[in-house]
């Protein structure tokens, strides 16, 4: 798969339209890597001139910051900002709401000012600009519910872009009882992804999976690699793998367009 790096581009004297910030999950996690590839396929189909940082990309520092390590966060941020500014990056797209939030909101005051998009916003713009169409027949009639990632939804009030894309797939979107601003967290945020939960009577991802299962979905759509892991684990716990799949919106679009 052709994924140009900023270094390649620079060597050729080119400046891409947008930088795809892959993020740690999208780079290393087996499940999330599929989301990265699906998104790249969409970028190719829409003829988007993009590049990644590749081995020059490093953790945004989001997880360190939420864990309370402001030092490590700012070290990471300043390193990344040096690289990004060195390449004169203006526009960034990412499939990870945590990177999205950090790059968009927390980098500017440290010297990193970019136009930052979540991939659902970016794809929505491609459609608006007529550069991409979504085939609404492949997945037609499937029952889909959408889980709002906290760092996309409440944190940045992006509720409509993912829903708009889902509706364009021709599927039946059913909302969970807790949705948009009242959506329940999957349990991964605030660095919880990297530790066991404190003592309680239930795992958060199980509670959220129950919310989703109440809508009798065939597909649980989401827009975050960490939510994806948590919901996938929840479905396994509930032994519903045969009936329900957890998919990123980018994967659904790639599937609909036979990419």
């Amino acid at each position: 798969m052709n994924v140009p790096t900023m270094a390649d581009m620079m060597a050729q004297g080119k400046q891409p339209e947008v930088l795809f910030w892959v993020g740690a999950a999208g780079s290393y996690d087996d499940r999330a890597k599929k989301i990265s590839r699906a998104f790249v396929k969409i970028l190719h189909q829409a003829n988007v001139d993009f590049a990644v940082l590749g081995t020059e990309e490093s953790s945004t520092g989001d997880a360190a910051k939420r864990a309370g390590n402001e030092f490590l966060f700012q070290m990471q941020a300043m390193m990344n900002i040096e690289v990004l500014n060195g390449y004169e990056v203006k526009k960034i797209v990412t499939c990870d709401p945590h990177s999205f939030n950090t790059l968009k909101n927390e980098y500017p005051s440290l010297g990193g000012k970019y136009e930052v998009y979540h991939h659902t916003q970016f794809i929505q713009n491609l459609i608006k600009e007529g550069r991409l169409t979504i085939n609404d027949t492949t997945l037609k009639g499937k029952r889909v519910t959408f889980h709002d990632p906290c760092y996309l939804g409440r944190a940045n009030e992006v509720y409509e872009s993912p829903r708009d894309l889902i509706k364009r797939l021709g599927v039946n979107l059913t909302e969970m009882k807790r949705n948009k601003s009242t959506a329940l967290c999957c349990g991964a945020g605030g660095a919880q992804m990297f530790k066991d939960a404190e003592k309680g009577d239930k795992e958060i991802n199980i509670l959220r999976t129950e919310d989703a299962l109440e809508t009798s979905p065939q597909i649980i759509a989401t827009g975050c690699p960490y939510c994806n892991t948590m919901m996938t684990d929840g479905i396994k716990f509930k032994e519903k793998e045969a009936e329900v799949v957890v998919k990123d919106i980018a994967e659904l679009i790639a599937e609909a367009n036979n990419l």
Partner: protein
């Protein structure tokens, strides 16, 4: 002798308001123990938020039943206070229903009639509130942190309101001239017959007694606020005005850290450099918060504003799954500790003397702090824009940066980020491998 009641009234009024002002000053001093943070920007947006959220109750009605009942009590409280103005003037001048002369029977009757309807509605709403708190099985009123004083506090407020509304209606019902005039006695006309067999003197005594207890009750209630969660009726306004306006996902970047990191990353910086000649040696700033004075004044204002409704806790994913964390408890603990610090200052002639306690551990445990997913559900839910998450984050910062007391797994995650730029132990050189797999 004829001026004795006026004098007693004036004294009660001065004492009531004076004591209240003294306590408000204490609150203001305590809030100012917090660190400075600039919330004077974007005034129009702040004003709009205050009008919409505090005055307009826009976030209350997200839960329709309690929101609707709350609006009745709120509107009743605000509007019936016009009547209190008349009571104060009457009390000071020794007049009776002085507004009647100014406004004429029609308008006066309309006003009092409105107050009477509101009083009846408030009474009904308060009864439902009491039932919700004491009879219905509503989880957020039964949490651990609501045992004892917080539960009694909630009920005392409701009893105050029941008694004040009853006295207002009885006072009108036992005013024969007002009943005969027949304008505005919409509710009290049904209470008046209860006193039919009473002598005119007895009725008059009941009227006077109700009048006095009503106004004295209001003064007592005013002063009760300081000791109660009910302060929100005043503080909701500044609290919504000074609330955070940035996206909820944007956490503050600690400036003290930025300076250190810049120095660390500056290739020209000499790590062994001694301070410049004449430069004052400064104590390095504490990172994060372990006690109330490390928090900002907005966070402390948040703590005084919290009315312990528990909407935050009922939306918290950690709390919903049985973890120790309750965002409401974070706010209650912050206020309790702040008041303890305040009493310490009062007892020690204006200076805080170390009491060997702090907000961390003595009130809020690390277990609570580490259970947070930073999902912002609590911040989103709060009807008056309190931000428990910011306190949790500041305390995590203290645990990690001052005490190196993060859970072991998080230390591993952070070590990985430091060594290979990812929370997991992968080689940085493999970062683009995903593109060629499948």
């Amino acid at each position: 002798m004829q001026y004795v009641p006026n004098l007693i009234f004036a004294l009660a009024l001065i004492a009531g308001i004076g004591f209240f002002v003294m306590n408000i000053r204490k609150i203001s001093r305590n809030i100012n123990l917090g660190k400075d943070v600039n919330r004077t920007d974007k005034k129009p947006e702040r004003l709009k938020n205050m009008m919409k959220i505090a005055l307009g109750q826009s976030k209350m009605v997200r839960r329709p039943l309690s929101g609707f009942l709350h609006i009745i009590v709120y509107v009743g409280f605000v509007i019936i206070n016009i009547e209190v103005l008349e009571i104060i003037i009457d009390g000071l001048l020794g007049t009776h229903r002085i507004f009647l002369d100014f406004l004429g029977l029609g308008i006066y009757g309309f006003l009092i009639g409105t107050f009477e309807i509101l009083a009846a509605l408030v009474f009904a709403a308060v009864i439902i509130f009491w039932l919700r708190r004491n009879v219905s099985n509503i989880k957020r009123f039964l949490s651990k942190e609501m045992k004892g004083w917080p539960k009694n506090d909630g009920n005392i407020i409701l009893y105050f309101e029941m008694v004040l509304m009853t006295l207002f209606l009885v006072m009108n019902a036992t005013d024969p001239a007002f009943q005969e005039a027949g304008s505005g006695n919409i509710i009290s006309q049904f209470i008046a017959p209860l006193f039919d067999g009473f002598s005119p003197e007895a009725v008059h005594t009941i009227e006077r007694t109700s009048w006095w207890i009503h106004i004295l009750g209001i003064l007592v209630f005013l002063n009760y606020l300081y000791y109660s969660k009910h302060l929100h009726i005043l503080l909701a306004f500044p609290n919504t005005y000074f609330a955070n306006l940035n996206p909820k996902g944007q956490f503050t970047n600690l400036e003290s850290v930025t300076n250190e990191v810049k120095l660390m990353m500056d290739p020209d910086a000499d790590p062994y450099a001694s301070p410049e000649e004449g430069a004052e040696e400064t104590v390095p700033e504490k990172f994060g918060a372990s006690d109330v004075a490390d928090l900002s004044w907005v966070q402390l204002l948040n703590a005084y504003t919290c009315t312990e409704c528990g909407r935050c806790t009922s939306a918290c994913p950690a709390n919903l799954t049985g973890k120790e964390l309750s965002p409401r408890k974070i706010m209650m603990d912050t206020r309790d500790r702040l008041e303890e610090v305040g009493r310490n200052i009062d007892a020690n002639k204006g200076v805080f003397v170390d009491d060997g306690k702090q907000l961390l551990n003595d009130y809020i445990t690390p277990e609570e702090l580490w259970a947070c997913t930073s999902c912002n559900a609590c911040v989103e839910e709060c009807p008056v824009n309190i931000d428990p998450l910011s306190i949790i984050m500041d305390m995590r910062r203290y645990l990690v940066m001052e005490e190196s007391a993060a859970p072991q797994e998080l230390n591993m995650m952070m070590t990985n980020i430091e060594n290979n730029g990812a929370p997991w132990q992968y080689n940085q050189q493999d970062r683009l491998n995903w593109a060629n797999e499948e």
